[in-house]
Symmetry: C2
Subunit: 147 residues, 2 copies
DNA sequence: GTGCGTGCAAATTCTTTGCAATGCA
DNA sequence: TGCATTGCAAAGAATTTGCACGCAC
């Protein structure tokens, strides 16, 4: 979801486009890593120093509600958010630099079917998150090994 | 991992089997739903009233470390734990009653390959969690619909 | 002008830490 | 007996709430 789409979604709900919301939105959508509420707060304050932490929390909750951001699950930082580009996408987190990308080629139907037969559940939803090493970090590691 | 295996893993590390650890272990392994630290605490106190919350936190961290419990990711309760039966398994959470089961038939290699080609990452790990309706709740719903 | 949204500060909740006492191996 | 482990209490961190003011519409 890009900036225009998010702003459209807010307006469509009868919500207001305030400076604070624009600033939070800009920070989150520009980020290529996962951000905690406090990190978003710090970042927003560099461009809008008078913003309140409360507003950041409320705005992040709002953005999550309309599907503009997604939460990622880490060993510790479970409440961090990443921008959500696609309506249904999953995050791939780099274990070296923290870069987060999204992939959409997600067909878990064979897995859902296997899980259904193993447990008897009717599967309705899933949460999938991959961890790995991003192209840049792979390349860095290669250069270090060579040099 | 059953009780014996967990206790063996603790002993193998030179750790002690205290009353508190046994009690926490019993509560967690007996549970068929996800439990937060505070829920575990409450439950343990019914059989061991003098236990401290601190001990519950420390024991849960320990159990997670040895792979006896797994964390589940929910919209809110991100720190809840479920017993981990298999070394590599995933949780299936019932959206009606909260029952959690585990399935092991997890072959995400096609998805990992697709994600790798889409993002350029070298995938090393994954976190997958399914949501659905358990057999009992499906059956209940059917009965209600009929009755 | 109306009322949603904001910022402050306080309250609340969850989790961790320091330390003396306890009890398992 | 020795030392890991415990429980208390206090600290710490993160998040939420109440309320008067300001600003988007």
């Amino acid at each position: 979801m890009d900036r225009t789409a998010v702003e459209g979604a807010l307006v469509a709900r009868g919500l207001r486009l305030t400076r604070q919301r624009r600033a939070v939105l800009a920070v989150v959508l520009d980020s290529s890593s996962q951000l905690s509420a406090l990190q978003v707060y710090d970042s927003v304050r560099t461009v809008l120093p008078e913003v309140g932490l409360t507003t950041v929390y409320r705005t992040l909750a709002l953005l999550e509600e309309i599907g503009a951001v997604r939460r990622v699950h880490g060993d510790e930082a479970c409440e961090s958010v990443v921008p959500a580009a696609a309506a249904h996408g999953h995050s791939v987190v780099c274990d070296t630099c923290g870069l987060v990308e999204e992939f959409t080629a997600c067909d878990i139907s064979p897995i859902a079917a296997a899980a259904a037969s193993e447990t008897g559940y009717a599967i309705t939803d899933h949460f999938l998150q991959l961890t790995g090493t991003c192209a840049a970090c792979i390349s860095d590691a290669g250069e270090k090994a060579v040099g």
